[in-house]
Symmetry: C2
Subunit: 267 residues, 2 copies
């Protein structure tokens, strides 16, 4: 089988090396990953500038393409341009930090896997909870086992799993929980400082909320030391709300729409 590996922490990150090693003997493995860290770039793609691409050899472990773009660019470019054959699977990660709750939307790791799904390719995003010592070796072993199980179950075209692995400092995870994505938002705060030119600088300083408040979610499973597996879809229509909004008695046309008034005086 043909496997495409990408990530969002960059081609030199330890997580992608672990993921490569986890599947290297299972088929033809190609690595196409961002040249530099791309945390929290979400599903960004590069549309205004060209991307510089070259072949690299990383830590004597793997050859791959380094792309000065985003994770979604890497997968798009790999499939449309760089690879001789369409991959059978896209694997993204192993991310440095979990991607649960609304972080699924901010995550470049998830976007890499999602982009595979857009091409109909079954994909998995792997992320490892932050801790004092990130054990990518064991995380890789877990990713391998989950991937093999995924392949065995013949996932339909475009199936995307979001897999979060709890911190491994206290030993192996207790097991696996298949859970919905939580809707926990980050608890955001900003630090600020005056810039020299009189402008102001802001640093985001967000943190994950306590998972125990949200049972039966990805974050809760992680907090209980389980691997959380969440199948994702990328059709975002809110079907319930669609039915309501249809009943809102919208205008038939706009021909009688008044143009907005000119702006009032400055506030």
């Amino acid at each position: 089988m043909r496997i495409l590996v990408t990530n969002d922490d960059g081609i030199l990150a330890p997580g992608i090396e672990a993921l490569y090693r986890a599947v290297a003997d299972l088929g033809e493995v190609e690595v196409v990953a961002p040249e530099t860290p791309q945390s929290a770039v979400g599903h960004a793609i590069t549309v205004r500038t060209p991307m510089l691409v070259h072949r690299v050899h990383v830590n004597k472990t793997f050859h791959g393409w380094s792309v000065d773009g985003r994770p979604a660019d890497c997968v798009k470019l790999a499939i449309v341009e760089l690879l001789d054959h369409k991959p059978d699977f896209v694997l993204s990660g192993i991310n440095h930090g979990v991607n649960t709750g609304v972080n699924v939307l901010y995550s470049g790791t998830v976007a890499g896997a999602a982009e595979g799904c857009f091409f109909g390719i079954p994909s998995i995003a792997f992320s490892l909870e932050l801790s004092d010592e990130l054990d990518f070796e064991r995380a890789g072993a877990i990713a391998r086992r989950i991937f093999l199980h995924y392949v065995e179950n013949k996932p339909p075209a475009g199936t995307c799993l979001n897999v979060n692995i709890p911190a491994l400092d206290a030993g192996w995870p207790l097991g696996i929980r298949c859970t919905p994505q939580g809707l926990t938002v980050m608890e955001d705060a900003y630090r600020s400082e005056d810039a020299e030119d009189g402008r102001k600088l802001y640093w985001l300083d967000g943190r994950l909320p306590d998972g125990n408040r949200y049972p039966d979610t990805d974050l809760h499973a992680i907090r209980q030391r389980y691997v959380a597996i969440t199948p994702l879809r990328f059709e975002l229509t809110d079907r319930g709300m669609l039915k309501q909004v249809e009943q809102w008695g919208w205008p038939d046309g706009f021909e009688d729409s008044p143009l907005p008034p000119p702006p009032g005086q400055d506030r």
Copy 2:
């Protein structure tokens, strides 16, 4: 009422000025928007660097905060830090080009509205189809009418509408269609060129597919010259697949997981 206006084309773009003007007389309107164009940044946020923020006055039309970040940063920063009061509504746009199908995922405009939803604030993303002459004046009139109708219908907390307006060259839209998001993917291609240092440059050269192939979607409505309205949600769990994946007989634990073998010789 308090309205926060943002966009992804940057605070100097004509679309945000039109959106400001469309709602300026309806309440207290604050503008917090990216300093530079942020097309296709998706739900990226700025986590590694500080953001420079300052107060600007644009085209003698509005005062606002210019943020050297992404649309989602602008909304987060506005709500957590910059504004004295939490807004009642977040409006994002008017984007230069439609955000239909999977472009909803790539869109910074949609991410700006989505971020409002994460804070429980009803939000709308507005986008205008590309054409020879982008008529933001009339697009603003349409946005105003849709916003007023939205407010009248008292949308529940966190309701997010994705509104796409067809090109206005041929006159006003024929009406409104409430449709699901399509799953049309871009038809991607790349142009490439050799860089001077021997590396290679790639430019993305994607185009929207023909909407008529996908009836009852946002893109199809646009192609028929209707305004497309799609309520969005940001819990991406694929519930059908979750039920299946739960039945896959996952391993109980990982304690007997073999570590991945060391990498073979270089390919």
